[in-house]
């Protein structure tokens, strides 16, 4: 196109998609902020059990947290591989990131079924409502991320993810790291710092 140069002019020199994505992350902060604030304001206010102290499995969730943290590392390596045009390691690290994300989801599915078996459902008490909606919303974000990464992996396998497409991976990485950071906050607030009297 004759006007390609004009089409790519930007006021800040930054990629427009990246700017839009940062605003998206800003709104996601408000979303999770509201969920976490609600969790905190209802903490210890359930009138019946099971309580967090009775049911949360910190060792198990520490393992899944570690898995998710490692996936962020793999994401960094994936972006670096794509940027230097290394197709082999692009695929390796994208696949690693996606698989680690999927493993986290398996852990979460296991945890949820375990809780339901032990008598904690969304309708059981305030803890059940706030816990499942907060962590479920996060899990949904991880699921979207895994699908996104799988798509990038397929693109890479088809040879359509060269260095010129690095911005696609960078934005997916922004998303992935954000979801990871949110989990660290949730893990700290929900699992590590348990406040309030049990019912």
């Amino acid at each position: 196109m004759s006007t390609a140069a004009i089409g790519h002019y930007t006021s800040t020199g930054q990629d427009t998609r990246k700017i839009a994505f940062w605003t998206f992350i800003g709104s996601e902060c408000m979303l999770f902020g509201t969920l976490i604030a609600t969790y905190l304001s209802y903490e210890g206010k359930s009138v019946v059990g099971p309580t967090p102290q009775e049911i949360l499995n910190i060792p198990l969730t520490s393992v899944s947290t570690f898995v998710l943290l490692m996936s962020s590392l793999a994401m960094v390596l994936a972006l670096a591989a794509v940027m230097r045009g290394d197709t082999r390691y692009s695929k390796v690290w994208l696949a690693t990131t996606a698989v680690l994300g999927a493993v986290f989801l398996v852990f979460q599915a296991f945890e949820f079924t375990q809780f339901v078996d032990e008598g904690l459902k969304i309708s059981t008490n305030l803890f059940g409502s706030t816990f499942f909606v907060l962590t479920g919303c996060h899990g949904l974000h991880v699921l979207v991320g895994v699908i996104w990464l799988a798509t990038l992996l397929i693109m890479s396998a088809r040879g359509k993810l060269g260095p010129e497409k690095a911005m696609n991976v960078e934005i997916a990485g922004l998303y992935w790291h954000f979801v990871d950071v949110v989990w660290i906050v949730i893990f700290t607030v929900v699992y590590l710092i348990q406040r309030g009297p049990a019912a």
Partner: protein
């Protein structure tokens, strides 16, 4: 596709309807937003007429109490989410890219998606009437009136999911406009050279981005309570009903600025144009807009004084709310100073803008009154509050938007709206709204509660209510004058040149209506008022010196919007299969969208 002067409409090859459905042109999307929102405005206005007809005399039985609940709920919801916000969005779409010298918004297909989600969300909400289940718990739907126990029908489901859908449309548009304004400005268009309308729209988008997630979560809680028996708003399980009020007003107060800031931007364009003077104190107007948007986050509980929050919270929220009056007052003095000593032309847009200043000030002053907790306790849930909010939102926001309609109409459609009919519209609206809403101050102070379908003759407010009804009918008639004016102008309207008002900003530098590519060459500005400054910008030739690439249409945004709204329809029907099928349509559309060749 190549569009040159010979084929200005790149979409001529396809059928007209199809080209509108698949359009990604910000100007067409702006027109779609405007037309759709105007229809919803008429529906919301009709609801207001029915409310006023019921309240015309004491002990009236024109509508039942149940219908009355539906009418005021849908009137408020419609006017805020389906009329005011999208009317502003119409101007954001059409005007912002022109004002900053861009060929389109940053993400044209996302823009189309926002529109279709808005349209389908509006239809979704109003479809509730067809099922005899219109939302009926008020526009702020307080818990636990909305619980399954007290609202067993689907009325509240329509409301909660309808708002959820509309929120998605607003958020998608906000990301788009922020990226557009940050990154698509023409060379020389520094932030502090942007027209005030673009500035106020910019601030508004940040409020949308931060405020809508809060209501989204509050509505998710509500839906989980209703569908899966969660306990967020269930006092029996230890839930706190004030959680809803806090979350709702954390969104709800910033929402007021989402409604009023764009209009402040509009009058800030109109007043200088018809005073032949640059806006007085441009940076101060910009900074006070930012300040309003920021402080607006810390005042939400002034809607909750009656819930008994305690002296400390009451004091803080009262004081913070009064503080907002300062940047707002600064703006009002700036607008007055803009007119001072100017060569004022009393055109229709100017009349609406001057009325905006006056009426918004009245609404602002009554707002400062109930920023004081003891005063507020007397006024809460009475018609005094109804008077206040209508002076702000009708006297303020809508009057400003009417002014903007007259001001930018020639740019959008190439013909000037008739001035005589415009002035008739103005005077009928101005008189009508004062006759409607001014008596409501007194009706409220005499103790008539809002949201109650009738009142007894002993209250002694029958006469003033009759006056308010007559005023409302006048107001309704004034809108019909506008409709007639539009029809009249389409056939016989005077043709507008590039710059019929002699305005200063970039959108007046090209032909009216603008060509599909907007600017034949990329503009370069050296001044905040490029058309009022010698050498303020480069020459924009009428014929592009070289072919201009214009992105073609796409139908994936429409399909994605259908999938999204289908998902909520499935949830409303409690049908997992409908929801899953619709979600599949959404996912496929998003993938097709992401991978279709669409060059900017």
């Amino acid at each position: 596709m190549e569009a040159t002067a010979a084929t200005p409409d790149s979409l001529e090859s396809s059928s007209r309807l199809w080209s509108w459905i698949t359009t990604t042109d910000h100007k067409r999307i702006g027109i779609l937003y405007g037309a759709t929102a105007f229809v919803f405005l008429l529906i919301g206005g009709l609801e207001a007429m029915l409310i006023r007809w019921q309240l015309m005399k004491p002990d009236n039985d024109f509508v039942s109490a149940e219908t009355f609940n539906e009418l005021f709920t849908m009137h408020g919801t419609t006017m805020i989410f389906l009329a005011l916000m999208p009317l502003s969005a119409a101007f954001f779409n059409f005007i912002i890219p022109l004002q900053i010298g861009a060929r389109d918004v940053a993400f044209p297909r996302l823009n189309a998606f926002s529109y279709w989600v808005f349209l389908l969300g509006g239809l979704f909400l109003n479809a509730s009437f067809l099922f005899g289940a219109a939302p009926d718990a008020g526009w702020f739907g307080y818990a636990n009136l909305t619980s399954i126990q007290y609202s067993p029908g689907v009325n509240i489901d329509f409301w909660a999911m309808g708002l959820q859908i509309l929120g998605i449309a607003s958020l998608a548009a906000a990301f788009n406009f922020i990226a557009t304004i940050i990154n698509m400005r023409a060379p020389g268009m520094k932030l502090m050279r942007m027209p005030v309308f673009t500035w106020m729209a910019f601030i508004t988008q940040f409020i949308i981005v931060t405020a809508f997630p809060v209501i989204t979560v509050a509505l998710v809680f509500l839906m989980f309570d209703r569908m899966f028996g969660a306990n967020f708003y269930n006092p029996n399980a230890g839930g706190d009903l004030l959680l809803w009020q806090h979350l709702f007003w954390l969104f709800g107060h910033p929402e007021v600025y989402i409604l009023i800031l764009p209009t402040m931007g509009m009058v800030s364009e109109i007043l200088p144009t018809f005073s032949r003077k640059p806006l007085f104190g441009y940076p101060v107007i910009v900074y006070s807009g930012i300040l309003i948007g920021t402080i607006g986050w810390g005042v939400w509980s002034h809607h909750m004084f009656a819930s008994g929050m305690g002296a400390a919270a009451d004091t803080y929220f009262g004081a913070a709310s009064m503080l907002i009056a300062i940047p707002t007052g600064v703006k009002i003095f700036n607008w007055i100073a803009t007119m001072w000593g100017g060569k004022i032309r009393f055109t229709t847009p100017m009349l609406f803008s001057i009325a905006f200043i006056m009426l918004f000030t009245i609404g602002g002053i009554s707002g400062v009154m109930h920023a004081s907790p003891p005063t507020d306790l007397q006024q809460t849930d009475t018609y005094f509050v109804v008077a206040h909010l209508h002076y702000v939102l009708f006297g303020g926001a809508f009057m400003g938007i009417f002014g903007a309609i007259y001001y930018w109409w020639p740019k959008v459609f190439g013909r000037l709206l008739n001035e005589r009919l415009g002035k008739l519209h103005f005077w009928l609206a101005f008189i009508g709204l004062n006759v409607t809403f001014f008596p409501m101050h007194l009706i409220g102070m005499l103790g008539m509660p809002r949201r109650v379908y009738t009142y007894s003759a002993e209250l002694g407010v029958g006469g003033m209510n009759l006056a308010a009804t007559i005023g409302a009918l006048t107001l309704g008639f004034s809108t019909l004058v506008l409709v007639y004016n539009i029809w009249h102008t389409a056939a016989k309207g005077e043709k507008a040149g590039k710059n019929p008002w002699g305005a200063a900003t970039l959108e007046w530098a090209m032909s009216s209506p603008p060509p599909v590519y907007n600017f034949s060459v990329i503009p370069e500005v050296t001044s905040r008022l490029p058309l009022w400054t010698v050498g303020g910008m480069n020459e924009i030739p009428d014929v592009p010196p070289e072919p201009i690439h214009v992105p073609g249409g796409s139908y994936w945004p429409v399909l994605a919007a259908l999938g999204l709204v289908g998902f909520f329809t499935g949830a409303l029907m409690h049908s997992l299969w409908v929801a899953l099928a619709a979600a599949a349509v959404l996912v496929v559309s998003v993938f097709k969208w992401a991978f279709e060749p669409f060059e900017m």
